[in-house]
Amino acid sequence: MKSNTVPEFILHDVMLKIPYKWAAGEYMGEFLTQLKESGRIYSNRCPNCGRYSCPPRPVCGVCHTKTEPRDKWKAIGPQGTLLGFCVTEQSFMVPNTGKMLEVPYSIGIILLDGAPVTLQHRLAESNTEKLKPGMRVEAVFKPKEQRLGDIFDIIHFKTIS
């Protein structure tokens, strides 16, 4: 018998499971295609203000100018410098998959060689003692036959000396 000092409330169980198919779009689509096909990380530049974007974007976010077309895209990296990072210790539900995150899970902001622009990605290293802003890292790609045309065609960035 339940205690009458604890009130019972009616709570409805609602499970929303709504699958989406998001269009990556022309520029993001080509960026992802190039990760898959050529194993290159592309950026592009605004002809007006000089700002680089990675992944390439069709319109400059700073000055709203049409950016450089595909034939002028520049491959940057795969090496770069770590600017910032975080290491997730507590598991959460991964929003794209609904599965629980395997921890520790470390994320870095990487300033890629070749253009003043950063990419966010996973880091191989998750020991916070060994992670320092300024350290050098390099993209590790999946073998070509396993690539799917998504951001995880790069497995992670590993530490290089």
Binding site: L16, Y20, L83, C86
Partner: protein, 392 residues
């Protein structure tokens, strides 16, 4: 037709982890009732209603229509906001436009969230681009954790300072009956909390709360007639940086040097436009949207309140404490109370209470004539409002 705008009423619920005893509407109605009582108005005196939350948290998107019985919005003007962390502050800005335009004389502004109804992390992650961002955005914390690392690296701030900041917030929240987490902590106790996302541990991040907050805005003539202590919205700005999948790209002033562009732009706009040259003297309190323990130090710098690397030193010296020279978040801030759709409006409401002298136990010791309130969204979207006791 345009007119100046004052806050003439404030109402908020208590904040807690769970409220299974009420639905959204009943929760909202508690704050609406409190705000109308505070303003000594009835719903008939209200011309428009602005309401906001973040749809994914409650799982329905017609809140403006569904909540009508509880908000009192039937047959009135109004609109709904759904802009993530900035919902509350954007709503006040929106209410300001309603009234300042002269189209309405009064506006009831409602922000709420009922975080006990779903898992916050997957819901909040819908803010991110699915191609590039969501695979890495682990809830709201990823960007803030990275920013903490970057701030420590750039300025010499230590993890212990974040713990001190959180301990200070806990002292303030303990004095605020509307705060959610009201336990007092020492910096050592904060340091020993379970790690969530390095460098942020469980006590260095904001909670998920249930609560609602309402402000009532009125035009100049009406405000002077109905309110003994109107708080004037002197100025405000809203700044969007470009949306970026990661939290640094697009924030470069110089190559390789990340900055929080929207904070800097918002701060400099408000300070310059109001000829404020000594912000710590000319502004007496700042209710800042502080989702993690680092930012109540780092964003002071970005808003232009203090110089580079001075934010953590101000906190260390006790200057940002409730009795300090420049109190920040005497309410305990978002670090102690975070029902997202009401967090931004709570900053404005708390700043207004400080100006009125009605903050009770967490009233700052300085005489408050001018206050700042900020709102923050996950994509570094910033709102900043300047409130005044007196009309110029």
């Amino acid at each position: 037709m345009s007119q100046r705008v004052a806050i003439v009423g404030v109402g908020m619920t208590r904040h807690t982890s769970r409220r299974p005893d009420v639905n959204d509407g009943e929760l909202i109605n508690e704050a609406v009732t409190a705000a109308l009582a505070d303003a000594q108005l009835s719903i008939k005196d209200i011309d428009s209603v602005v309401i906001g939350n973040m749809d994914f948290f409650e799982g329905h998107y017609l809140s403006d229509a569904m909540m009508m019985d509880y908000t009192g919005a039937r047959l009135k003007k109004g609109l709904k906001m759904n802009t993530g962390g900035t919902v509350g502050s954007m709503e006040v800005v929106s209410g300001f436009y309603n009234v300042a335009s002269g189209i309405c004389d009064t506006c009831l502004v409602i922000g709420w969230e009922k975080h006990d109804e779903t898992a916050v992390t997957p819901a909040i992650s819908t803010m991110g681009d699915a191609s590039l961002d969501r695979p890495f955005v682990v809830g709201a914390l990823t960007g803030l954790a990275i920013e903490g690392i970057e701030y420590m690296h750039r300025t010499g701030c230590q993890l212990e300072h974040a713990a001190m900041a959180r301990a200070q917030s806990s002292q303030n929240a303990a004095r605020n009956p509307h705060a959610h987490l009201r336990d007092k902590y020492t910096p050592e106790e904060v340091m020993n909390a379970r790690m969530v996302q390095y460098p942020l541990n469980l006590l260095m991040v904001c909670p998920t709360s249930v609560g609602a907050c309402v402000t009532i805005l009125a035009g100049e003539k009406k405000a002077k007639k109905i309110s003994k202590k109107p708080v004037w919205i002197k100025d405000h700005t809203t700044v969007h940086p470009e949306y970026t999948g990661n939290h640094y790209q697009g924030q470069f002033d110089l190559p390789g040097y990340p900055r929080r562009t929207s904070m800097m732009m918002a701060g400099s706009t408000i300070l310059k436009r109001n000829h404020i040259t000594q912000p710590m003297k000319e502004i007496q309190v700042f209710e800042m949207y502080d989702p993690c323990a680092f930012v109540q130090m780092s964003w002071l710098e970005d808003f232009g309140i203090c110089g580079h690397a001075e934010g953590w030193k101000m906190m260390e010296k006790g200057m940002t404490a409730l009795e300090g020279a420049f109190p920040v978040n005497p309410s305990g801030g978002v670090l102690c109370t975070n029902a997202i759709g009401d967090s931004g409006i709570m900053r404005v409401a708390e700043a207004a209470l400080q100006i009125r002298g009605d903050a009770g136990e967490h009233q700052v010791t300085r005489d408050v004539r001018t206050a700042l309130a900020s709102g923050f969204g996950g994509a570094f979207w910033t709102d900043l409002l300047l409130l005044k006791k007196d009309l110029d």
